[in-house]
């Protein structure tokens, strides 16, 4: 095996978080005598946290772009009450209610985005105002009452996938999802190999590939088994499917689209972004708007789960979402953070809640522990950055590297031979540069005239 790092290429920070999450789950599994990894508890874990995780997806973009959104809980609440009323009093069908909710979210988002982007009120302030205003609006519209929602909405907040096809001893929808996920992992490995060959870098060794995929596939298979073999009629929950779709969609949006790059560019250096042709105002606007749309969605998932919309829905959600994002590795100053990391951060908080509850720890101590975890996670991040060391994994990997003297798998590109070729040998560049006549001299020193 060439390197441990190669096992989980990509963001070391994210991997270390994942590692911490798995460790946490295993710890609680042992500490509670096996109460954590049961199908009903895992269903609860997803359903009870999906709305905060949905918020975390939008929040990480807001934080990356350099703002913060405190209004998400209130926005979720106001959308919840409007949708519930529309369905009860104006007899909106469930799907129209859903669309209405998203539309209301978009309008609220446009409002907040306008203040942030075009008036220049910092997100912290404009959404603090929004937090108060929309909380009040929720109670004003609903007259501080609870309003029930129809059955179809309950499916959105806590339903299960259908049962069909031959008897496999499992829920077949869950089984299908599991198979798809495994197929994707295998496909991705082949894609990675193909790309490595195309761009002439050295692909990861087969051992690395096999170990890496085996670990991930084992986790998927186990989860499929767990969710597929629960009580009859249950499956991988619908909010979980929704969440998975959102995570995939937003990961692509943030990592692989022009808009996503703009979000990071504006968060990293606003004036450099502006001079690169990025409209900072438009970026702020859409990020804030998107956050409110996701808050609307979270609010609807929540009223589905709790079967009614009430005056105190969504209280403190913003704080949970923000905590998830920062545990997930985002920087307060903007420019850094990923959707994947924030989701893992959210799951760390959720697992803590869940595990401590199962251990019988009261909510008083649970809150104290959660507070400390947030503090320590971010402190560790700050500390590692100051030391110029990556993260927990960084420690592990580097430590091992020193011991076994393994080299990283990254394509071994030697620094361009500095000053060893004739300067007149300068590269030919037309409109686009042509690969230059650079001879990567592995050992530049040999050519030096020693004095």
């Amino acid at each position: 095996m060439k390197s441990l790092k190669g096992l989980f290429s990509g963001d070391a920070r994210q991997f270390s978080m994942l590692f911490a999450l798995v460790a946490l789950i295993l710890f609680f599994q042992i500490a509670t005598g096996g109460k954590v990894l049961t199908s009903s508890n895992m269903i609860n874990l997803i359903n009870g946290n999906s709305y905060v995780l949905i918020l975390a997806i939008g929040m990480v973009m807001v934080i990356v772009v350099g703002h913060i959104d405190l209004s998400v809980g209130s926005v979720a609440a106001v959308v919840g009450i409007i949708v519930a009323l529309a369905m009860r009093d104006w007899s909106f069908p469930w799907w129209a209610g859903l669309l209405l909710g998203l539309a209301v979210g978009a309008v609220i988002g446009a409002w907040q985005g306008w203040w942030v982007a075009y008036v220049g009120v910092p997100g912290f302030i404009s959404t603090l105002a929004g937090m108060m205003f929309f909380r009040g609006l929720n109670q004003y519209i609903g007259k501080s009452n609870s309003i029930p929602v129809p059955d179809q909405f309950e499916t959105l907040g806590g339903g299960f996938l259908p049962e069909w096809g031959p008897n496999t001893g499992m829920n077949n929808s869950t089984l299908l999802l599991g198979v798809l996920a495994v197929a994707y992992i295998v496909y991705r490995e082949f894609q990675l190999r193909k790309r490595a060959k195309r761009v002439d870098s050295q692909p990861a060794s087969w051992t690395v590939v096999i170990v890496r995929s085996a670990v991930i596939i084992a986790v998927i298979v186990y989860a499929t088994y767990l969710y597929g073999t629960g009580r009859v009629g249950t499956s991988f929950p619908i909010p979980g499917v929704l969440l998975a779709v959102l995570v995939i969609g937003y990961t692509i949006l943030t990592q692989r689209t022009v808009f996503g790059r703009h979000v990071y560019a504006v968060g990293g250096n606003k004036s450099a972004a502006a001079l690169s042709g990025v409209s900072t105002k438009r970026t702020y606007f859409f990020v804030m708007m998107n956050m409110s749309v996701l808050a609307a969605l979270a609010g609807m998932v929540f009223i589905g789960r709790s079967t009614a919309s009430g005056p105190f829905d969504g209280t403190n959600w913003e704080l949970d979402a923000i905590a998830a994002v920062f545990i997930g590795g985002a920087a307060v100053s903007g420019g850094i953070g990923t959707v994947g990391g924030s989701i893992i951060g959210g799951f760390v908080m959720a697992t803590l809640n869940n595990g401590l509850q199962l251990m019988g720890v009261g909510s008083d101590r649970t809150q104290m522990i959660k507070g400390l975890v947030l503090l320590l996670a971010v402190a560790f991040d700050v500390y590692s950055k100051q030391q110029g060391k990556p993260s927990i994994t960084g420690y592990l990997v580097n430590g091992l590297k020193r011991q076994f003297n393994v080299t990283p798998v990254e394509p071994a590109v030697v620094p361009a031979g500095v000053g060893n070729e004739a300067v007149t040998d300068a590269p030919a560049v037309g409109a686009a540069p042509v690969t230059a006549t650079t001879h990567p001299t592995g050992d530049a020193r040999t050519e030096r005239e020693d004095k």
Binding site: R261, Y264, A265, N269, S276, E410, G419, A426, P427, K451
Partner: protein, 513 residues
């Protein structure tokens, strides 16, 4: 000279970053009272060596010994090295723009009496320090209202306030024009006469040969040689030979321009200061660029060249008042940077840290960042394409890095500059505006950048070069405009231009005929 005592010795210094050996067994000997220059190509390890010396990289993170006045010292941070009398002025100025001169000078070293800051005393001391560096400004002036040259002097005054014994200057003149540089060098000479030892890093080799008593040359993290002025005169060619391992025939590549017709024109351009209404930054400026032509803009710092360029580039600076732009004979309007890029303009800013780079990004993402649509396939960014393009520019510009996946913040100053250039070349502009493109770039790399500029011109593009180095303009440009106080005061063909004639035009306040 050999009898003077050795002020500082750095022995067998080795410093590694993950994946890079920045310093490999470097030795540096500095005698008391001398000005010691450190030369080397971009990424050779000069700044890193000075950061080791000043405790930025604390003891324990490097191998080797630092011997100061005959004793081994182990600094755990910047404060510790300052206590030993070592003060470093970094490549990037570290003054706080909003604060006053006095506040900046005593920041972190406040003059305290009875638990409170004694501002009167601080101001009095500031006056004294300013006198020592020969600067006549009010101690209450905010830093942002001072020019770069003055700021640099303030940095030195700040160092003097700390009772400096060994002053380190990392490229102190790279952002200065000739007068300011000259001024600074005179000051350093004066301080040397009073016994101050200094270490200076610079890519301006003429300054080094003018001022240095000894030169240490570093290449690829290793000491190549130490030249002593007392032994033999050290001229620029000698330093270059040490730096790149061979002589450089000429500083500017030979080039026969192929100039076509005028394709870009600016007429009666008027721009107002964004903060001071009524103050004009560009006063009826008109100029044109032909295909295949390299056009220079000469002027002293603050003459309004950057403002002119940026206001044309999508009105990214100042308040547009009036003026017209023509591209290929047709009038165009460029109200946003986006539209300017789409029209084929590119502007490489003079300040890479604040305007050119997102320091959180990797090299590959930075290089494609000004023209993302170019790598979009089916609505998504094509990462293969991104890697291919950035790899191509890494090689073409010889950006010194292990891989393009490295963060730009880890590059040396000169290599960061190359990344910014690559970013704008990637947009394949029709008109490339370069604002101080070779600031902080070593001689060899300059030559390569000049070659790239000429190749762009030969491909029928237009290039505008704004530079404070007259030799560079004279060596590179086919035609040179001079700017003074927001007004274009002259237009000179390369054949007719001399340093003197340009200087004269750069300081006249009447418009060109």
């Amino acid at each position: 000279m050999a009898t003077t005592h050795v002020k500082l010795e750095m022995r067998h210094i080795t410093k590694e970053f993950p994946g890079v050996k920045a310093l490999d067994d470097v030795t540096l000997t500095v005698r008391a009272g001398e000005i010691h220059a450190i030369c080397g190509e971009n990424g050779a390890g000069k700044s890193t060596l000075m950061k080791v010396l000043s405790g930025v990289y604390p003891h324990g993170t490097y191998a080797g010994d630092i011997v100061l006045d005959g004793e081994i010292v182990e600094f755990k941070d910047l404060k510790a090295s300052e206590r030993a009398g070592i003060v470093i002025i970094h490549q990037e100025l570290a003054l706080i723009p909003e604060l006053s001169v006095t506040e900046n000078i005593f920041l972190g070293n406040e003059v305290v009496s009875k638990g409170l800051i004694d501002w009167d005393l601080a101001r009095a001391k500031t006056k004294e320090l300013l006198a020592r560096v020969g600067l006549e400004v009010n101690p209450n002036t905010a830093i942002k209202n001072l020019g770069v040259g003055q700021q640099q002097l303030i940095e030195i005054a700040k160092a003097l306030s700390k009772d400096v014994k060994l002053l380190i200057l990392d490229e102190p003149t790279s952002a200065l024009n000739e007068d300011d540089s000259e001024n600074l060098l005179e000051l350093l000479k004066g301080l040397r006469a009073k016994g101050l030892t200094s270490i200076m890093i610079s890519h301006k080799l003429n300054e080094i040969s003018e001022i240095a008593d000894a030169v240490t040359i570093i290449r690829d993290g290793q000491t190549v040689e130490r030249l002593d002025v007392a032994d033999a005169p050290v001229d620029e060619d000698r330093i270059i030979r040490g730096m790149v391992g061979r002589a450089l025939e000429s500083r500017y590549p030979d080039h026969t321009p192929h100039i076509g017709e005028t394709f870009f024109e600016v007429r009666d351009w008027v721009v107002e200061d964004p903060t001071i209404p009524g103050r004009l930054l560009c006063k009826n400026s008109s100029f044109s660029v032909k295909r295949g032509e390299i056009v220079g803009f000469a002027g002293v710092m603050g003459a309004g060249r950057t403002e002119l360029a940026r206001s044309i580039f999508g009105r990214s600076f100042g308040v547009f008042r009036s003026g017209r732009l023509f591209l290929n004979g047709k009038e165009i309007h460029l109200p946003t940077v986006e539209s300017a890029i789409a029209a084929g303009l590119a502007y490489v800013p003079e300040d890479r840290k604040t305007h050119g780079l997102n320091l959180l990004d990797t090299i590959r993402k930075t290089i494609v960042s000004a023209d993302l649509p170019k790598i979009v396939r089916n609505g998504l960014l094509d990462e293969d394409e991104e890697l291919r393009a950035s790899e191509q520019y890494r090689q073409a510009l010889r950006i010194k890095t292990p891989t393009v996946n490295e963060g730009v913040s880890k590059l040396s100053g000169g290599n960061q500059q190359k990344v910014v250039l690559a970013k704008w070349m990637f947009t394949e502009p029709e008109l490339l505006i370069l604002d101080e493109p070779t600031r902080g770039i070593d001689v060899g790399a300059k030559y390569e950048i000049y070659t790239l500029i000429q190749q762009l011109a030969d491909a029928g593009k237009g290039v505008v070069v704004i530079s404070s180095e007259l030799p560079e303009l004279l060596g590179m440009c086919d035609r040179i405009y001079t700017v003074c106080e927001g007004r274009i005061t002259g237009e000179v063909l390369r054949e007719d231009a001399t340093q003197e004639s340009l200087m004269r035009l750069m300081t006249t306040t009447t418009a060109a005929a």
